[in-house]
């Protein structure tokens, strides 16, 4: 399925892009993350949450296609 991924904050520094599109055949968010961990070596050291179609989801959620966002926490003020 077609997935559009947005990277925020430090995550976009690891991926070197704010956004990317890819075709993915897995079915769970966790599987997508494994693929991304392989693609981006430093990603596994990062804290982040995942949103699918503008809603925060657990990694055990089924992928529906559409928008995925990887959100790290920000501390700054």
């Amino acid at each position: 399925m077609h997935i559009n991924i947005k990277y925020f904050g430090q995550i976009s520094e690891v991926t070197q892009t704010d956004e990317e599109s890819l075709e993915f055949s897995g079915s769970l968010v966790s599987e997508l993350l494994e693929t991304l961990n392989e693609k981006y070596d430093k990603l596994k050291n990062k804290d982040f949450q995942v949103a699918q179609n503008q809603e925060l989801v657990s990694t055990e959620t089924k992928l529906t296609g559409g928008d995925i966002a990887l959100l790290p926490p920000f501390a700054g003020g």
Partner: protein, 371 residues
């Protein structure tokens, strides 16, 4: 016509009734830094009746790139106090209370209980989790904002059964996964945008108008001008676990990512002074033992259980085997709001040498090594 709040009052969504609500609300702002400055400016201008500002930090030159309440004239001043002075000129009709100290697990609950809405403008995860948990325990809405380089997040937590910060990010990140605060740059105007949005959420909560960002995380990117709003769900288990642990809340200690300023000084500083409490924070097995009635012996591991043995009326000179754990002890005591703690840079052996060299002085600090 010349009413200060005329431009609010003539809005049908606000009116005199809404303006009175603003005047009758007490808002506590955590941090008078990048986010705190615009939050405080606009809440003050809007006429929030009582505004509390808590910040232990002082104004530094590098703050002036974005912390617009300050200036050359307030360099070196405590931020809460400097902010209050500037804000009182902006609006003399409200009450502004400056707390020039650190927010801790010990003082948070009592402080939060005195306010209606909490706004988080802090700059480190430890304070953010402390603020979140204290908001849950005191049942106060929390207007959250945070920034990273060119990006910001805004949300309203603990509001009408909405999620909390822990429902979004359950635990503070591992230390090495997030850069230390002093290492990160930030576009100066970004906290202006995010902090103003936080002030806006405060006003919407007070007025009961519009859609408050509860159950939503707003993500803003200043480089692209993109804004996305993500839905967050409440995790009841997480919220309940914070509530269950509330009896222990005041015993918790913060573990700062951001360096705490510890006063490290040589033992020589204290040799000629009176009214010093020497504290040895080494563990029981460590040699050489020192036997002297004027030295308090509290191992670092036991420090927080022995606060009653620390003399609030004296300067505390803390030492250990090498000068490392004594620094840690000072950090802990400072976070507990215990003032006048100093870490002695020398290790125990050197300290004994220094003290015993003071032949002429028959003071109470003469030490005898046992064994």
């Amino acid at each position: 016509m010349t009413n200060r709040y005329n431009r609010h009052i003539i809005l049908s969504e606000i009116g005199q009734v809404g303006q009175d609500k603003i005047s009758n609300t007490k808002v506590l702002v955590i941090g008078a830094g990048g986010l705190g400055c615009p939050i405080l400016q606009y809440l003050t201008a809007a006429g929030v009746g009582t505004i509390g500002i808590i910040d232990f930090d002082v104004v530094e030159l590098s703050n002036l790139q974005r912390q617009v309440l300050f200036g050359t004239s307030t360099l070196g001043k405590n931020k809460a106090i400097a902010a209050k002075e500037r804000l009182e000129d902006l609006n003399s009709a409200i009450s502004i209370i400056a707390y020039g100290k650190k927010l801790t697990h010990q003082n948070a609950i009592n402080l939060f209980n005195q306010y209606d809405i909490i706004v988080d403008g802090s700059d480190n995860f430890e304070t953010r989790y402390l603020v979140n948990d204290a908001s849950i325990i005191t049942n106060k809405p929390l207007v959250f904002g945070a920034i990273y380089k060119f990006e910001g997040q805004v949300s309203v937590f603990n509001y009408n059964n909405s999620p909390s910060y822990r429902c979004l990010f359950p635990n503070p990140p591992e230390k090495d996964s997030v850069p230390n605060c002093s290492e990160i740059g930030v576009l100066g105007v970004l906290p202006g945008i995010i902090g103003s949005m936080q002030a806006n959420e405060v006003l919407k909560i007070i007025l009961g108008v519009g859609n408050v960002l509860s159950g939503k995380l707003l993500c803003y990117n200043a480089l692209t001008s993109n804004m996305s709003t993500l839905k967050i769900n409440r995790n009841e288990l997480i919220v309940q676990s914070v509530l269950k642990d509330k009896e222990n809340f005041h015993k918790k200690e913060m573990d700062f990512n951001c360096e705490v300023q510890v006063n490290s000084v040589s033992i020589e500083t204290f040799l000629s002074e009176e009214n010093i409490q020497f504290i040895d924070v080494r563990e029981a097995h460590e040699q050489p033992k020192i036997e002297n009635s004027s030295i308090t012996y509290i191992p670092l591991s036991e420090l927080e259980n022995n606060l009653d043995r620390i003399d609030k009326t004296k300067k505390k000179a803390i030492f250990c085997q090498s000068g490392i754990r004594s620094k840690r002890a000072v950090e802990i005591l400072q976070k507990l709001d215990i003032q006048n703690c100093f870490s002695i840079t020398e290790g125990t052996l050197e300290i004994i040498k220094h003290i015993n060299n003071r032949h002429c002085d028959g003071g109470t600090t003469e030490v005898i090594c046992s064994k």
